[in-house]
């Protein structure tokens, strides 16, 4: 099975406190630690496990800039066969529809049986996979938390629905699935693994290689644009306990006791 996984490099929320910049129009991007979008990493692991079971190859692709090559290398160190960087100045400011349009052009240059994305990105809206599927006229399922290959033409998949329940579906290939976290346990990647793939060439494709109409992508085509960031006020805010740890422990004990939290 030929599998394509669409991935993104994003600020890592487990490594960073995301805050506004001084101008208040963007997040503070200096000194941010970036990593592969968590959902996408599960998608790559799932692709590798499927390829190990039924044979085939795994290609990872991202739309971005040269800094994004590092996550392609990382996923290649996990075992992905090929990495492709799609990068062009004309892509700047693309909305989800634009990104899906770019990916469609790439998909149509190759032949993939299965296309995976993460359910969403840290700063995204869970849109690209479903848009890509509709553009290709492939079936789509979101929130996928298990995949079983039935034969060369169909998969049995389950989706995560409310309350931890699962919705089981059969879906025809080729298809697009968005992968939920927890579907597997992504393998560890060490520095040694990344060094081993350091010399594998990663092709960069742009508008001309993809035969794309630049009018369909980028800022000018985007119907959806982020205006700015701000810090939300969700509630009145907690009473922050101050003092030494011992004082805080004593105070917390009193509070828990007063609220009926002791046995």
């Amino acid at each position: 099975m030929e599998i394509l996984v669409c991935v993104r490099r994003v600020p890592d929320t487990s490594e960073n406190e995301i805050a506004l910049n001084a101008a208040g129009n963007d997040i503070e991007r200096d000194d941010l630690v970036y990593s592969i979008n968590e959902w996408d990493n599960y998608a790559v692991e799932e692709a590798l496990q499927i390829a190990a079971r039924v044979g085939g190859s795994v290609t990872v692709v991202t739309v971005g800039g040269e800094d994004d090559e590092e996550i392609l290398r990382r996923e290649m160190a996990m075992g992905a066969t090929h990495g492709v960087l799609i990068s062009d100045g004309a892509f700047a400011g693309s909305d989800a529809r634009g990104i899906a349009t770019i990916l469609r052009a790439f998909v149509q240059k190759g032949k993939y049986d299965l296309i995976l994305t993460g359910v969403q990105a840290e700063d995204g809206g869970a849109l690209v996979g479903g848009m890509l599927a509709a553009m290709l006229d492939y079936p789509f399922a979101s929130l996928v938390n298990s995949i079983e290959v039935l034969d060369g033409k169909t998969l049995k998949i389950s989706r995560e629905i409310a309350g931890g329940n699962k919705e089981v579906n059969q879906i025809d290939l080729p298809c697009v699935l968005s992968i939920q976290t927890g579907i597997n346990e992504p393998r560890y990647v060490g520095m040694r693994g990344i060094r081993q793939v350091a010399s594998i060439p990663i092709p960069t494709l742009g508008v001309s290689e993809l035969n794309l109409d630049p009018q369909l992508v980028g800022l000018a085509a985007a119907k959806v644009q982020r205006v700015d960031y701000f810090t939300p006020a969700l509630g009145k805010g907690a009473e922050m306990l101050q003092g030494s740890r011992e004082e805080i422990v004593d105070k917390l004990f009193e509070l828990v006791a007063a609220k009926g939290g002791l046995k």
Partner: protein, 328 residues
Amino acid sequence: MSRIFAYIVHKAGVADDSALELAAAARIIDPSASLTALVMGSGPELDKVCAALPNTYAEIWKASNESLAYPNAELVRQALVKILPSGSIVLVAHEHFGIDLAPGLSVRMNAACVSDVSGIEGLNGSSLKVVRQEFGGQVSAHVACDISSGAVITFRPGAFKPVETAAANGTVIDKSSEVGVLAAKRRYLETVVAEAGDVDITKHAVLVSIGRGIQEKDNVAMAEELAEALGAAVSCSRPVVDAKWLEKSRQVGTSGKTVKPKVYLACGISGAFQHLAGIKGKPFIIAINKNPKAPIFQVADVGIVDDLLEFLPEFTNKVREMHSLSTK
């Protein structure tokens, strides 16, 4: 202004809460808009859903079709594309069905698409400015959406409070004949209900709930020791289940359990919406997190900025000490 449509998610003849929330959102977008409910399904259950909507929606477009008995987003999309006028604004809840439907529907309608909207700033000409949360709720973004050729917008469940409305005196309009034959490349097989698990966290008055901040599996024991001392149960947020440190049955949130404790100790939990949505009944929330900017501090009653792995054992000792004093 185009007519605003709301897709009604329903189950067993009852419309989801989002049916009223979407109407509230639509009235913020345009107070004068004519609201139309889209109800797809089959049989008497469909009519029961439609019968409950005329107080909220001016028109209720129903499409009855055997193949829509279970809501398959691909079939629903085909049906909607056949019946919706061009340039329509379609609202749908941002849950497992809406996430399946919205992106592909927007492509087929050649309309804009914006998802997981939690606030509406206003409409300026054909530019709709909305609010979305990003980075797990640590920051929010204003997003401008050009709705001049239509839009599909998904709304965060619970973000819009249903408003008391004058009866819309709506009429049900049967669109079934326009839907025709539907066929999908994806077929629903069954729903598998979640396993009960060893501990029922929905029955506990006190929960010691752990998140990513617990850092590794071996540290879960710290939470178990505190829970034991308090007579509480250990619950968790999604990353702990994803990492297989606790069973799915311990997860609080939209994709886990809904809990109603008296006291909720959120330990190393950032406070993403999906987690908070599983906490009901206004418990006393205590948040312990080393990140002072964690969203959990905005909704907690009491906050402690500290290293969880050092704080928890000390607090456990305090509880044990006081317990042994009181039982002597």
